[in-house]
């Protein structure tokens, strides 16, 4: 085994060159790295958010709200359909997750059933309808979503939300955020840098559903106080605290999707901040129609089920543009414009996990990590050389190459180095020595057993191998499980361990072998320095 075949020497040199080359960008200042020729590697270690500072947000689509909204919309569809078919009904409303309606005339139940089953809902990916319509006793009809529909809706909502969030964050100018889906209803947002996490969260979490709804002025205040409001109306709170609630028609005249552009500006009369917007074709037409029919009546501008303001229509608005002036600050006007431009979220998002580390704290962690890696490595070198002399020195050289290969491999593969990952690095270096210890102890045994130096060294490598592999397999198992445990920092730890096991096996066995082989060839020793 100690014969120095050409490929062994080649592998050793290649691995050392690889390690140096790919570690180099981490040691040079950015300006030098940028000026390196194109064939040289430029990638640096990808530092985790705990080391470079930044925010990790786990947002969950509020599936409850999504379901509720879908059911509300479906209820309105039922109402509209039955009215257009001129079928009289009563008791339309939600019973649990079902919509129930009672058809007044028994002779029309069949017609109602047919009309509803043919028109309601959409289709699932499988092609089946996502709504079931069933007849119930006493002229009732029950309408419900099929179970798969809510999963599909949540998935669609996540997809749309990711796009919307990306547009919003881009507009905010945050630095390279990573947005990924997790499971069916969750979104992970990792934003490095010093961006204010609360601002980020506010911008991400706002549904930003804009609607224009007519105000129902026919309901007397007493009825409002008693909660007696017509079925097609809803009560909205104001977004300015203290303002009275307002009754508006459920049906919205125009919605945020019909906007083409919004921007923050100033009211020409009062010079206070406002948001200017313009509608697309359909929006312009609808708005013109409604405003011309309702001159003198107020309409409400509603954002996320809270009204911002309710101006009176003075004349028909046909130009397809307008302003919202609702007591904005410069910043809130700017934010609203940003939200309107990037579109609404299909459902509210809840931040269920957040980890933010300030850049300064991250830099402290990097410094502490660097110091402890260097001290750890120095202690290992000192100890191993003290313990095994020249052979310890060989092991130390292998260890240096090992460290370079780990850093190089991580830089190359864009693996993320986290703070626990640094601990993993230190531990890996320590455990890497174990392979050499096993080999050297084996050699000592063989010498004791009466073998001459060369043959003992050879047998040491050969016979320690199974033990080394068995021993490292256990680390691999532990690391793989850790990696699957999830959560960023721990994943980083597992990854460092895992990469480390493979580079350690390679360097501890092969590099020391080549070094010892050279030593034998150069000095023709009669004894081993460790026996």
């Amino acid at each position: 085994m100690l014969t120095l075949s050409r490929w062994k020497v080649f592998l050793v040199i290649a691995s050392a060159v690889f390690g140096v080359l790919f570690t180099l960008p981490n040691l040079l200042p950015q300006s030098v790295v940028d000026s390196l020729p194109a064939f040289m590697p430029h990638d640096r270690l990808n530092l985790g958010l705990d080391l470079q500072g930044g925010s990790y947000l786990l947002e969950e689509v509020d599936t409850g709200a999504l379901r509720k909204e879908r059911l509300t919309n479906l209820t309105e569809d039922v109402r509209t359909k039955l009215r257009t078919e001129q079928i009289a009904f009563t008791e339309l409303g939600l019973v649990g997750d079902q919509i129930m309606a009672r058809i007044t005339n028994p002779a029309q139940v069949d017609a109602a059933f047919k009309a509803l089953s043919n028109s309601l809902g959409g289709r699932l990916r499988s092609g089946a309808r996502d709504v079931t319509v069933e007849r119930r006793p006493d002229q009732h009809i029950a309408i419900a979503f099929v179970p798969q529909a809510s999963d599909a809706a949540a998935e669609d909502a996540v997809t749309t939300s990711i796009e919307t969030i990306r547009r919003r964050i881009d507009a905010l100018g945050a630095k390279e955020p990573v947005i990924t889906r997790q499971g069916t209803s969750r979104i992970v947002i990792e934003a490095p840098g010093e961006s204010d996490p609360e601002k980020l969260k506010a911008i991400i979490g706002k549904t930003a559903k804009l609607t224009f709804q007519m105000v129902d002025t026919t309901v007397p205040p007493d009825d409002l106080a008693a909660g007696r409001i017509p079925a097609e109306d809803e009560v909205l709170q104001s977004d300015t605290p203290g303002a009275p609630p307002m009754i508006v028609k459920r049906r919205s005249v125009v919605t945020g999707e019909m906007l083409t552009k919004a921007s923050a500006g100033h009211d020409p009369n009062t010079n206070s901040p406002d948001v200017d917007f313009s509608f697309n074709g359909i929006g312009t037409q609808r708005f013109a129609e409604v405003t011309s029919q309702n001159v003198g009546k107020p309409f409400a501008i509603v954002l996320d089920k809270k009204y911002i303001e309710a101006p009176r229509i003075n004349s028909a608005i046909v130009g397809g543009s307008g302003q919202i002036t609702g007591g904005f600050t410069e910043e809130s006007a700017h934010d609203l414009a940003l939200l309107l431009n990037s579109g609404a979220l299909p459902a509210p998002l809840n931040a269920i996990e957040q980890h933010t580390v300030g850049a300064e704290l991250g830099a402290d962690a990097v410094r502490a990590g660097q110091i402890s890696v260097m001290i750890g490595a120095a202690l290992i070198f000192a100890f191993i050389i003290l313990a095994y002399g020249l052979f310890g020195g060989f092991a130390a050289i292998a260890l240096i190459v090992n460290g370079l290969m780990i850093v190089g491999a991580m830089s190359l593969s864009h693996a993320t180095l986290t703070l626990p990952g640094i601990a993993g690095l230190v531990l890996t270096l320590a455990v890497a020595v174990d392979a050499n210890v096993l080999i050297y102890e084996r050699m000592r045994d063989e010498v004791r057993g009466g073998r001459p130096a060369m043959s003992a060294a050879d047998a040491g490598f050969r016979r320690a191998l199974t033990t080394i592999i068995d021993a490292n397999a256990t680390t691999v198992v532990a690391a793989v499980i850790m990696f699957n445990l999830g959560a960023g920092p721990v994943k980083g730890f597992a990854l460092t361990l895992l990469i480390g096991v493979f580079t350690s096996l390679f360097t501890a066995i092969l590099i020391t072998q080549v070094l010892i082989g050279w030593w034998f060839r150069a000095f023709r020793p009669k004894t081993l320095p460790i026996s």
Partner: protein, 314 residues
């Protein structure tokens, strides 16, 4: 006398097995103490597993007025809020549980707003929020990961050695996990995801150590067919002793650097790892091997005749 390895006598004959009874008693006492400790005083669960929020804030040149911070938060009805300084007087840490039914993300925004309003100049250097749903999942995942690790190790040893060895190794693993857990209880360390990673690493290391002893045991069993198992174990542990010491010391040296200089957030992880390495080494000698003795292991010559399959009864 250099290199040092020459100082370690090569044919030690420590009667490890004869002390096994004593150490087994000590181990059992420690395990029982840990089990009691889990109920009282109980585990100091971090927000990873309990849910809640931890904020670290810094007020620049002025010291933090803790009373003011507490005052600002009482109006928010958060229940039990802890406010403490740590390190410098201008650094404080705020901990609270998210009230049931409210969005964890939204609550922390309000809390930060209230603190900023009261203190004026303040920077939040760290924000950790874990919702109850997430913490529940992490807890389940953590337990699952530990069990999966132990289970896979059993399978691996069974596959590479034989069942008795696997059982010995697994008992040793449970021993190491329990005692490391005991240390976490004793030092009142905050039990976080990082510590689960530490425990998993200890599983890996402890196994690594056990495998080395087992490997030698298997080899010696072939070499000395007439030697009683008890003596074989003593011989194998003694033969691997210098490796055990050197590898263990290397790991301890490297990790102590990490524990001292690695900063506040890595300290619990490094302390548990340090302890785990000591206990993992101890258990390979005093738990895993004696268990094999207890169970007995088949000798190679017996292995030569496999159990004949029973003919199926009509």
């Amino acid at each position: 006398m250099w290199p040092l390895i020459k100082l370690i006598p090569h044919d030690t004959k420590f009667p490890f097995v004869s002390l096994a009874r004593l150490f087994a008693t000590l181990s059992i006492i420690a395990v029982i103490a840990t089990v009691i400790g889990t109920f009282y005083p109980g585990l100091n669960l971090g927000i990873d597993f309990k849910g809640g929020t931890v904020l670290e804030l810094n007020t620049g040149a002025v010291p933090v007025d803790l009373g003011k911070v507490r005052g600002a938060l009482t109006n928010l009805h958060l229940g039990d809020v802890q406010v403490q300084t740590f390190g410098q007087p201008n650094d404080a840490v705020v901990r609270f549980q998210t009230p049931a039914g409210s969005s964890p993300g939204a609550v922390v925004t309000r809390v930060k707003g209230a603190i900023t309003q009261t203190l004026g100049q303040v920077t939040f250097s760290r924000t950790d929020v874990v919702g109850p749903e997430v913490s529940g999942e992490l807890k389940a995942k953590g337990v699952e990961a530990l069990l999966a690790a132990v289970g896979l190790m059993l399978l691996y040893i069974w596959f590479r050695f034989e069942l008795q060895f696997g059982l010995g190794a697994v008992v040793a693993l449970f021993h190491d996990l329990t005692l490391s857990f005991g240390l976490i209880l004793l030092l009142r360390l905050e039990f976080s995801l990082n510590l689960i990673a530490a425990l998993l690493t200890i599983i890996g290391y402890s196994m690594n150590d056990t495998v080395v002893v087992f490997d030698r045991l298997r080899e010696n069993r072939r070499k000395f067919k007439r030697m009683p198992l008890r003596d074989l174990i003593d011989l194998s542990v003694n033969e691997t002793l210098s490796r055990t010491i050197i590898t263990g010391l290397t790991a301890l040296l490297a990790l102590s650097g990490l524990a001292i200089f690695g900063g506040e957030s890595l300290r619990p992880l490094s302390i548990v790892l340090l302890f785990g390495i000591v206990i993992g080494t101890y258990s390979s000698i005093y738990v895993a091997s004696p268990i094999i003795l207890l169970w007995g292991a088949k000798r190679d010559d017996e292995e030569a005749k496999p159990i004949a399959p029973q003919p199926a009864r009509p």
